[in-house]
Amino acid sequence: MSTIKKLAVVSTALGLLAATSTGALAQKKYDPGASDTEIKIGNIMPYSGPASAYGVIGKTEEAYFKKVNAEGGINGRKINFISYDDGYSPPKTVEQARKLVESDEALIVFNPLGTPPNTAIQKYLNSKKVPQLFVATGATKWNDPKNFPWTMGWQPNYQSETIIYAKYILQNFPNAKIGVLYQNDDYGKDYLKGFKDGLGAKAASMIVLEESYEVSEPTIDSHIVKLKSTGADVFINITTPKFAAQAIKKNAEIGWKPTHFLNNVSASIGAVMKPAGFEASQGIISSAYLKDTSDPQWKDDAGMKAFDEFLTKYYPEGNRIDGSVMFGYTVAQGLVHVLKACGDDLTRENVMKQAANIKGLELGGLLPGIKVNTSPTDFAPISQVQLQKFKGEAWELFGEILSGDVGG
């Protein structure tokens, strides 16, 4: 039995003991950070440094909790959202996480961003039994309830997404020659691993070139030319928005027309397709779980209308077409759902229990049919995506809702 497991057992036992001894006195139960009037939610974001573009997520969440508080809070309690800057530097993340837990005494650490920063605090938060809830990273390892019962992911993980592409390719292009371009870091490698796992034994024969680039390179044109020269007819594009736009443009320039799969990270119309040019973007295949705010097909959608109302009233400075705004909005709704489900039992243990017991939750920002689901053995809340093809000036969804659950 691992130490963590032992701890978990002991804590459950203590929890039961506490429940039986105080149950008769009062229904309300609180851990540090919760009281009759407020719930303290800690958060860590890169407001400065190389990943500061994602800081928008924290700002959106703050605005959303302002809305929740203005509408009466959660079961009468106001959310006190404490968000710190770590500059995407793991040592700073540790300092901020400790500050949240030991000095501010937050109930949970919610949606900290980035794989290295979250890895840095995972062991600490689990040993302190503080929920590290809905982390903002797509790495696959967050779905590991056995070893890390206090850590839970949120978005579909990278591996499951490329597994879905791989399955689609095996079905529709069994004789494809595949060229892969990926960013040389954890995100790119995670995607690549999923893709190879998805192809299985055929990976070695189908993939003709795995080309990587560094995030510090100014342009990836030379990599595209190299990929074209291999004669690949399927292109797996695992790049972040700036590079994705470059790749689409360069493809059109040199007349390379493979079947183009673009990862969800860069499937933004406003940030990628538009700058790259709609003409060059036709026929690109990607996947999605969130509604694209710049897609006209959601104009009259109820969820999108609520989102716009929230933006005008509580976050007017937010950039509507920035995908991070929709992300922050949706994950904040997810947290509110969990906290509401906790009722008057606002202990850290109950927060994890309720978070691991979400059944078929539909949120306004998610694509129709995609639901949030968790269980004590499944810590991957959103694991469904739908394939989409770029047509005209918008994504056209096709096929069924697909699931690619992968454990950590």
Binding site: Y47, S48, G49, P50, K59, S83, Y84, D85, G87, Y88, S89, P90, P91, V94, E95, R98, K99, V101, E102, S103, T115, P116, P117, T119, A120, Q122, K123, Y124, N184, D185, D186, K189, E214, S216
Partner: protein, 338 residues
């Protein structure tokens, strides 16, 4: 123009600091030491952790101070040495199960060697050129750590998680408090050794090179040896600090050792006072706490607020904490006379 002329006409990069002015008086030292030793008994674990980080960064700033304040060479590459130290400790602890305390001297020795070797090109470069060469080292380091070739040992981009040591001999103190006192003892040891080094023959050679390289070599100082030696010593101390940092933070990853860290350390040295060793701790406090204060003032503009605060410090007290300390000393002296 010959190389010799170039050196002569170049304005001295560092203002000469007399060696007595490099340290604190005995009384003041003891008061500071007592404060550092007693404070953790009264504060939360989180504050103790911050104080540990304060000492660790102070060591790294001190190392840079020996290099720049002592021998007059610039370095923007300290984050690379810090990273090598951190990874050495982390790898020895996690892959070889070595005791944390034993990994520190090894980290120090490896970094000393690394710094000594890197000091060779430094012989041909000076001033801003040397700063740029070390800058290249700092920029390259995070990517080198991600290389697939080392990934088995370094954990690649995922980094390595390090186990935090418990207090030994069943001492009744928390892990944080133990680690603080452990760091404090090492920091004091290195501080005393550094002061002795600068007062020794080698230290005088460093300073002679800093003040005038040609005069120093005319006096018989082996300029090449002492310049590289200064790099080695500085890198070695930074390596020990890096190792301690890895143990305190319990995690190493390439993103923790970017050029930002090197610039922070440089900043800490300037704010603490170039060439004034006790200033290292003040500089360290500046780089740890001032960003937090800036964030408290404005989240969106934390960088700008930090810039304004830094500007104020540089503008009002260009010689950093050393200047403040000297003014305070003069005022105390006047009070005593009255």
């Amino acid at each position: 123009m010959s190389a010799a002329e170039e050196v002569v006409t170049e304005a001295p990069a560092i203002e000469a600091v007399p060696k007595r002015a490099m340290t604190l008086g005995l009384g003041t030292s003891l008061v500071v030491l007592a404060a550092l030793a007693i404070a953790p008994l009264f504060v939360k674990n989180f504050i103790i952790f911050q104080m540990t980080m304060l000492l660790i960064y102070a060591l790294a700033v001190l190392a840079l101070n020996i290099l720049t304040g002592g021998s007059g060479q610039f370095s923007l590459g300290q984050s690379a040495f810090y990273a090598v130290g951190a990874y050495t400790s982390a790898i020895l602890m996690e892959h070889f199960g070595m005791n944390y305390a034993l990994t520190l001297p090894i980290a120090g020795v490896i970094c000393f060697a690394f710094g000594f070797v890197f000091g060779q090109p430094a012989l041909r470069l000076s001033g801003v050129y040397l700063a740029l060469a070390t800058f290249a080292l700092a920029v390259a380091m995070p990517q080198l750590l991600k290389l697939g070739f080392f990934e088995h040992w370094t954990g690649g981009v995922q980094g390595l998680v390090v186990t935090k040591p418990d207090a030994p001999f069943g001492l009744p103190m928390s892990q944080d408090m133990w680690l603080y006192y452990f760091t404090l003892v090492i920091a004091i040891g290195i501080y005393i050794a550094s002061i002795n080094l600068l007062r020794s023959r080698s230290g005088r050679a460093f300073m002679a090179i800093r003040d005038n390289e040609i005069a120093a070599s005319a006096m018989g100082v082996d300029v090449a040896l002492y310049k590289t030696l200064a790099f080695g010593v500085s890198a070695g101390i930074t390596g020990v600090a890096g190792g301690l940092g890895a143990i305190a933070v319990q995690f190493v990853a390439p993103d923790g050792y970017t050029i930002t860290l090197a610039i922070s350390l440089f900043l800490g040295m300037v704010v603490g006072g170039v060439g004034w060793l006790p200033g290292s701790i003040v500089g360290s406090a500046f780089i740890i706490f001032v960003p937090n204060i800036a964030e408290g003032i404005s989240k969106g503009l934390s960088g700008a607020v930090f810039g304004v605060l830094l500007f104020l410090v540089i503008f009002l007290v260009p010689h950093g904490a050393r200047q403040v300390a000297m003014v305070a000393q003069q005022m105390l002296g006047k009070l005593k006379k009255n």
